[in-house]
Amino acid sequence: MTVTEALKILRAARKLEGEPYPVELVCGFTPLHLETFLGAHLQQRMSGRRISLSTGLFGNAAGNLESLQGKDLCAVALALEWQDLDPRMGFRSAGQWGPALLPDILKMVRSTLGRMAAAIEQLASGVTVACSLPTLPLPPLFYHPGWQMAEVELALERALVEWASECAARRGFALVSRQRLAEESPALGRYDFKSELLSGLPYTLPHADCVAESLARLLAPPAPKKGLITDLDDTLWHGLVGEVGPENVTWDLASHQHLHGLYQKLLAALSEEGVLVAIASKNDAAVARQALGRPDMLVAPERIFPVEIHWNAKSGSVGRILKTWNIGADSVVFVDDSPMELAEVAAAHPRIECLSFPTNDAAAGYALLRRLRDLFGKPRVAEEDAIRLESIRQGAGFQNAAPDGSSAEEFLRQTEAIITLDCDSKSGDPRTVELVNKTNQFNLNGRRHTEAEWRRRLRRPGAVLMAVGYRDKFGPLGKIAVVEGRQQDDTLYIETWVMSCRAFARRIEHQCLKALFDRSGAGKMVFDFASTPKNGPLRDFLASVTGTPPEGPVELTRGQFEDVCPALYHRIEETQSRNESWIESQPA
């Protein structure tokens, strides 16, 4: 990105209305270019919402960080350089260099890092922090030649890494990968010595752009992909299984086909992280399944579901897999070695990301493995990730077992369903906002929230929150629904309501409303409904209980609901006593 492009992006964003997204850039140098690029990169990632970026005082990064306590922020971008830890490690300071001073510099660095760690701890919970560790070289203050790593230099690195490790344990703190930054902004192109001396701007423009983009990627990361559909021949393994036989397809070093083995290992790891993995292959199913069952396979066959192996079009296979997973094509990656198959799938499912498996190009293979890691990367693996595949498999079993007509009622009665209600708005469980932000179909209005905003909402007077878990004899679905809003007198205003598509057809949505009426004692609810391109299921549900398809906010009285509510067979477990107030009474 050039400065001109960045300024144009920021200029266009000035017209955006609504509540801005407040971000603080903390650095010790003149922030000019970094601020401009950071604002532009964040703006690109958060289109539709204006970024409000502020900065602190020159040469006082630790103090600037300390001054943020109590400030109303959503995110902090911290661009550290060595001089922020001790001005003597910068070129603009008149402080002395010399061997006798090195222990004192190390002491000062530890002290400043301690101040910064304390300041980060004091930030309001939910504020996201992205940090880039020093990117510029240390000045020539050691007595060793520059090609030798000095002991003090090692001690400085150690202090920095220990500090970063401690900070990284804080929820919402993320570090720029120094390795990736070194690839994107090579060391020799980073520093502008003249500019630093003249104006206090140490970064070259390309480096400022790169650091800004790295920080923005952490503060506003792309949504991770949820599923991967893979081909078999010359993709999951080398060779055409129908021709060479199940015992002769290969994926190991000895056969020089280890890229396929690495791909299998990555799929196994992704699956453990909650990524859904499926197969779409044109093959003889019996033969291909024999190869999949080989004991030396590096991804266990039970980690892969569904498996579509036949001779029909792969676009059809992909369509059925998407239906089983019940996720959008834009959350899925399709990997195949055949350009024709990739084109056929892309034509039928334009929003799916189609990636070519390079059979004879090691560099491209390495790039593919890295690309997949980036596409599926997420800040942490949640409890729900571990049971996602099983719950989808069970969900398919539920759908297949569910009969039509009058026997459906009996089927629901026999599912032994248990619904868990957690109404503790003060618990601050971050998974509630995560579920809100990744759910599209059963979503009241499609609004997304940062963790900081979510916590602010829950601190409002009258705020109510209900997180819903579900399990039945087919297996657990984990936390599957969140309802949030506020109660005022006799009315419950529902401003957020999402439910995982895995939980459809179990009358959980009815049970949610019943629990809300029961707990609140309210006479009516007002749903802040807004139509989105994907929230048809929620619109249809509201139409079924109110009698009219909603076009905006819609009201439902207790009497109306009781008239249409079907029989509910769930057993309810509550994590909070009924006598405890579930409503936030104190103003924030």
């Binding site: 400065v3 001109t4 300024l7 000019l32 270019h33 401009t36 003249l198 104006s199 701007l201 423009l205």
Partner: protein, 88 residues
Amino acid sequence: MDRIATRLSTCFETVFPDLAAKDIPAATQRSVAAWDSTAAIMLVNVIEDEFGIQMDFDRLEELDSFESICQYLKEQQTAGAASDGSSA
């Protein structure tokens, strides 16, 4: 307005979005409140993007008006043409 002045105007519009187009040709560091030292650096960066040149930061102080920058760019163009051996 010649071609260099027109392109320079777009640079001013980018850096000083609140400056009216009619006021750009007469703009000076004294007449434009937003034209401080950091804006001067941004202006140079944007001019470098637009004209594909490297400007001399040591001459930043004398480039304090639309007119003086326009003149500087014309000198650069002439010098560039001369060093290329082509006619202006």
